[in-house]
């Protein structure tokens, strides 16, 4: 049975994530990076977390790459994370694990009312359904929860970059960007690595993947794909220095 998922404004999602952080943080204390997502889930929201082989649990055929990362039982408040994301067994998956947990919190906060009067109670989160509204909302929630606007802005100041990082160069060594497809391909490669280098120090502070960080930075207007039209860039050349990594 498919759920009817209503539209929720991005601001509403962000406001709830901020409210949750505020409720969690003791008065006179300030929330710090990285956001203690385990404690928020288990100690504040009192949801039950466990690891299991989700593909086996749902009787799905095996793939080499896991497609299901998490599931939540919205009526009982149980979260199951796929074993492949166990951050103690696979330390490189820590970021992914944290994001999945925060994503399930998004379902818990946003989508519980949707299943109240239905038979359904489980939301299974598969990468193949990442573009469905239900999943997009939970992803935005996770993003706002793990990378709160205020803290990202603070780090932006600390990392010493007060201009938005402009990603797409209009030209390269005086050559127009779209001159030939091969050159464009090379430039795109540089763009990707520039972007990665820009997002990485933030990603490390917030303990999220550089990709999740890039999406958040874009959302907050700290990365722009192109120089906005009408806006006069305040810098003389095309490249803004990358933030130092201290």
């Amino acid at each position: 049975m498919t759920l009817r998922v209503p539209y929720i404004a991005d601001e509403t999602i962000e406001r709830d994530a901020e409210a949750l952080l505020e409720q969690y943080t003791p008065k006179c204390m300030k929330i710090r990076t990285p956001i203690p997502i385990d404690n928020i889930v288990e100690k504040y929201l009192k949801l039950r977390v466990e690891f299991n082989d989700l593909r086996r649990l749902f009787g799905l055929p095996g793939h080499r790459e896991p497609d299901i990362f998490g599931a939540i039982w919205l009526k009982s408040g149980e979260i199951v994370i796929d074993e492949s994301l166990d951050p103690e067994e696979y330390p490189l998956r820590e970021e992914r694990y944290r994001f999945t947990l925060a994503h399930e919190v998004g379902h818990w906060r946003l989508h519980r009312p949707l299943v109240q009067d239905t038979q359904r109670s489980i939301v299974v989160c598969r990468s193949s359904q990442a573009n469905e509204r239900l999943e997009l909302q939970a992803n935005l929630y996770a993003s706002c929860l793990l990378m709160p606007r205020k803290l990202v802005m603070e780090w932006r100041d600390k990392l010493g970059n007060d201009h938005p990082y402009i990603l797409r160069r209009k030209s390269f060594f005086g050559l127009p960007y779209d001159m030939d497809p091969k050159l464009a391909g090379v430039l795109r490669f540089f763009e990707q690595s520039d972007l990665y280098n820009f997002a990485r120090p933030f990603a490390e502070k917030f303990r999220v993947s550089p990709t999740a960080m890039r999406i958040r930075l874009e959302k907050l207007g700290l990365i722009r794909l192109e120089v906005p039209r009408l806006a006069k860039p305040t810098f003389g050349h095309l490249h803004i220095p990358l933030p130092s990594r201290t």
Partner: protein, 117 residues
Amino acid sequence: MMTARMMFGRLVRRERMARAIGLREMAKKVGVSPTYLSQIERGEFKPPTEDKVRKIAEIIGQDPDELLALAGRVASDLTEIIRRRPREMADFLRAAKGLTADDIARFALQAQKTKQK
């Protein structure tokens, strides 16, 4: 039917959550992975080794001997006691079987006094 393994797992989970100890946090304290602790809590796996069960008992404030019994294990010091005096200890335990907890406690006290003499 609920097996001893499942009862062990449920008790561990219930007491862990009642004390607001996180899964990862507990796994780290016990020295196992969160995946393995999840399996134990679901009763899918045999309870861990004696030293780990003892650690779990300490964290969730349970009597180690009772938790070991639920885990289907006998404390290694008890095995050693029986091994050293197999016939007498077996007779002793068989004779004590069926007594009430109070009676057993009284005998234990008596044994303690006898040793001190």
